[in-house]
Amino acid sequence: MNRKAIIIGLALLAALAAAIILAVLLGAERLPIFDLNEQQASILFDIRLPRILLGACVGASLAVAGAGLQSLLRNPLAEPYLLGVSNGAALGTMLAFVFFQSLEITRPLLAFAGAGLATVAVYRMAKSRAGMNVERLILSGVIVTTFLSSVIVMLTTLLDAAKLRSFTFWLLGDLSQATRNGVYLSLGAVIVGTIVLMSQARALNLMMVGERDAFDFGVEVGRVRMLVFGAASLVVGAAVAASGSVGYVGLIVPHLVRLSVGSDNRLVVPCSAIAGAIFVVFADTIARTAIAPRELPVGAVTALIGAPMFIYLLRRN
């Protein structure tokens, strides 16, 4: 590990701490640093901090999933939203909400199942005897995403007006329903998912060049594929169940990280986790404060920031 990577890692951690502190202080209700009264303490510990920490977990989850999928699929455009993985998780969450409303645990479970099934569907559609090329993968992702979006829209007809409004907001990315249990679940998922991806980082360095290369040099390709898809589905499922579909994080963050630390996944995966956390905490702070007391969906803010960044990256390379 080189010195530059260590410095960047420490800088990212410092930036994350700063982003969290700033997010804590800003909001519809400005909070002082010290001497909080009872109401302010309640706002901080029951509402704002869970939301900020959930945002950090969601950002980390989507960024590591993007980093893993891009390397596994040899495709710089692979990310959970574009590949339909997020929509798969959203559909799973929605089915849990509509049919198992009282059982909260069904949301992350069905989100994980939905994410996993969408991943397998896209992969199988994209793979041909000649292999998998960029265009085929993106096309498969678009097909799965649009199909799942249609199913989600049809399911929304089963909801009453109040729930429909709330669900539509959630679909665009909403951290306002954050609970402590949601944070614990999301944190657990991102820790497990990141550790699994880190354990496959050396193999992913070879997979990034080609599956045949990886196989020739000793990688159990099938096992790596299953572990990375599984880890990506786990973290995306947990993130989407808690916060809806937040796009562009998994696409943009790994690319920006690679520009700073190179393409070694042993650095890209953990740095993407931290950078993704910073991105979503920052975006959610804007979402909460830009038109306070009303709020924007955090997914809309990540898209507003992410799309121009993506254009910049496209022009650069």
């Binding site: 891009q70 390397s71 495709n75 070879l206 060049v209 045949r212 190179g262």
Partner: protein, 256 residues
């Protein structure tokens, strides 16, 4: 030692390889020749377990390939295939170090010894000073040499090279074959090389295997295999055979 006994690969009714048998001894360079579609790449893929056999077997030091783990195969057999486009910013040193995959564990970093190994492999391939350059900023020929360096960095003693000189200029074609020849002669490596260049085969091979429609048409030392009749039968081209005055090896000239 790599042993192949009656190796056959078929897809439905189509037999791509039919009852191939030969042995690869330590210190030996075997060149595979044949027209496009003769089964040369298919055979290379079967030799490192990438493609399963329909019948027959490939053994590595007496053990069936099918019974050996992926990791153990990669510790002993390294493949030099055609270079691929890399879609991510990977440096030359990172690319070559990835060849040391089987020598590390999941969460580890390369040791100083691994890095020295990789740098030596780069130096042997005339790529000293290229360590920090990005792979997708190199020419096709430079990338092909990096691919060879990665295979050498593995430390595996059996090299399978699939048209390694395809993108190389004349000087580097000779360099590559000379390097493989030296490793085999001096360090007891063994190599199977696919090439379309009959003269390079004549210069550097201990043994030539000529494939025709999935079968071995001829096998043996260059002077026994590279005959006008064999070349006409396999390639459909008439050739003139004489002796290279500089190396005293067989020289093949196509008559167009």
């Amino acid at each position: 030692m790599l042993d192949v006994r009656n190796a056959t690969i078929s897809y439905g009714a189509c037999e791509v390889l039919q009852e191939i048998s030969f042995s690869l001894e330590p210190g030996c360079v075997v060149v595979l020749l044949g027209a496009n579609g003769a089964g040369k790449t298919t055979l290379i893929k079967a030799l490192n377990g990438t493609l399963p056999l329909s019948s027959g077997e490939v053994t590595l030091d007496g053990k069936r390939l099918a019974d050996i783990s992926r990791r153990e195969i990669a510790e002993n057999i390294a493949v030099v295939a055609q270079e691929n486009e890399t879609r991510f910013p990977v440096t030359v040193l990172e690319f070559v170090l990835s060849g040391r995959f089987v020598h590390g564990n999941a969460f580890g970093w390369e040791s100083d010894a691994d890095i020295e190994f990789a740098k030596k492999a780069l130096a042997d391939c005339d790529l000293s000073g290229f360590e920090t350059r990005l792979m997708n900023h190199l020419s096709g020929g430079e990338r092909q040499r990096v691919v060879l360096a990665r295979a050498l960095a593995t430390g595996a003693k059996i090299l399978l090279l699939d048209e390694p000189t395809a993108n190389l200029d004349l000087a580097h074609q000779a360099m590559m074959f000379r390097l493989v020849r030296e490793r085999c002669s001096q360090s007891n490596y063994s190599a199977i090389v696919i090439t379309h260049d009959l003269n390079l085969a004549a210069e550097f091979a201990d043994e030539i295997i000529m494939l025709h429609r999935g079968r071995i048409a001829a096998a043996g030392p260059p002077e026994k295999v590279l005959t006008a009749d064999n070349v006409q039968d396999v390639f459909g081209v008439k050739v003139l055979l004489d002796e290279n005055p500089a190396s005293r090896k067989l020289r093949v000239t196509a008559i167009y």
